[in-house]
Amino acid sequence: TTRSPRFLGLLSSPPSALLADSDFGSDLVIAIIDTGISPTHRSFHDRGLGPVPSKWRGVCSSGPGFPPNSCNRKLVGARFFSAGYEATSGRMNETAEVRSPLDTDGHGTHTASIAAGRYVFPASTLGYARGVAAGMAPKARLAAYKVCWVGGCFDSDILAAFDAAVADGVDVVSLSVGGVVVPYYLDAIAIGAFGATEAGIVVSASAGNGGPGGLTVTNVAPWMATVGAGSMDRAFPANVQLGNGQVLDGVSVYGGPALQSGKMYELVYAGASSGAASSAADGYSASMCLDGSLDPAAVRGKIVVCDRGVNSRAAKGDVVHRAGGIGMVLANGVFDGEGLVADCHVLPATAVGAAAGDKLRKYIGSSTRQAPATGTILFEGTHLGVHPAPVVAAFSARGPNPQSPEILKPDLIAPGLNILAAWPSGVGPAGIPSDGRRTEFNILSGTSMACPHISGLAALLKAAHPTWSPAAIKSALMTTAYIKDNSNGTMVDESTGVVADVFDFGAGHVDPMRAMDPGLVYDITPVDYVNFLCNLNYTEQNIRAITRRPADCRGARRAGHAGNLNYPSMSATFAADGTRATMKTHFIRTVTNVGGGRAVYRATVRSPEGCAVTVQPRQLAFRRDGQKLSFTVRVEAAAPAKKMEPGSSQVRSGAVTWSDGRHAVNTPVVVTW
């Protein structure tokens, strides 16, 4: 957040229209359902804020480390919900966690300040990412709902938080947790989110960190905004220089004493490497640098190469440190690809991609006692203006939507890689118990960090456009998103370095300034969602489990298919069984004019490869603001030349864009065979 407001175009002098028109979100309350909050952090001061919005009905629960006066005009409410956790896991260990809204983990403080942290200067993490830290909606109010504990985040507590948030009068719910994907009527988060949406609350949720594999996206209900993660134009290079002259790209935010300048250290691979001189120990555990797996005699004074996986990245550094290693290189495996995350390691350490990891292991494997492998780590600090950016983070969960492929997920991406944000004073930046360092800000990565960016931006939009529904706000964010990076190419996938697609970035990367004035929006009512669920062939009972509405599906099913939900993207799925030469479908959409008055929009179509996409009518003439007009999109797809193998798929994407010369309303069209 020392970079993301600028990267998103929010910073300007005078303040951007979005911030000015929304008064920085000052009348809005954002609920952060997470690990609680550190109320005394500078990011949550209330200087210069007006009175708490009169609609606010919440409370400030107190408890250990969280006195009754912890709330203020910024942090307007705080609650904690542990009954579900304790019903399953037994009474909590109150020496390890506290029965209050206080954040003893750090995650909730971090996400809260991304959404709505105040301007704080100077801000940095161990000297990295120095600047002014600011949340997306710096004057929006925060309400913390602590539901995540050492044992996880339990549905019954999450629902209690949703219930309280709706009753308290929040405007946006930010939920950076996820899990398995199940049918919507069995998904407590989807059920809670539906109730919140029905109450006019925007629900923004993390897509999950299960990428880069397909079908990994979570929190996929269409009434939620599902947010993936991208990079910014900022990097923290920490390259590995090898004794053979090679330099391998790495990243790190290690901030302690550096390695000796100009000195080359012996390199050792922690895993088994039979025949090589430099193997620290044998076995899988050692390769991962799991606790207790390293032989101190083999690693003392050396830079240890650890494979990524199983334990946390920072914990590996701690294991190496305790075994006497002087540094660490964390190497991706083939399944990790080239995705890198900068961590606050407890010793000089860096992370390298899979290709560099292979080179490193080969180099070490070819060494001898007489000619050992050597290297060092060159920490370069903070680089700005990096190209290309944004890049889709390797870990960001990917579509298609496992529950309803008719709805493209994730919806969009936002900054989620190497994000500096507030951090509690009682927790070390590496997030491991042995880390005694203290930092006011920490740099973390995850769709957890992307989600509150959208939550804060949604608050700004809602403040500027109070009559817009949650679906309209989501539509504005999606139809104005971009897919080109700062090198003017289509965004690339960090894990492979090749061009990313709609299952990676959804509608694209958020562009808040354009979202402020989208021209047209796709609006959705609760009844539309009922029809959508009917078209998923849910039973009436299943639909009532989500919507508390009696569902008469006869009309809905006559009206078409699940893809006819008035969603800001269109996804067609065809079974390529070899029996038909072409396949057809159509989508009906209705757009609402929010551009201010008379306008004529014309459609341009970029058809997915191998498909013919037509729009009817090709022109929409609006006479007034708020007017709704409908159009039909027909998709005709040639069957793949060869019959496809069972279980395989082919994806092509295009877009329908409506433009009046001032606005461009982009709607992705995805075809999957």
């Binding site: 399953t88 995650h107 629902l159 009532r544």
Partner: protein, 91 residues
Amino acid sequence: GGGEERTFIVRVDADAKPSAFPTHAHWYEAAVMAAEGGGGGGEWREGGPLIHTYSAAFHGFSARMSPAAAAALAEAPGVAAVVPERVRQLA
């Protein structure tokens, strides 16, 4: 079968509360106890069987019960859904 107790989230039609119960919580408690074994078979817990009650995002409650009791509860009048709890992780 009976199986080990776990947490279930129960969604109800709020309007279906029998007038004999002064509050929704009374209704929920009685429904869980009845499902557990005829009004007294469930394990007694301090504070009753309910973990949370919900009334704003939706109407219902969460409670620990056996899968058999949950199945019985799903058939009870006014109950719209019984959903097994899942544990989520930070992203």
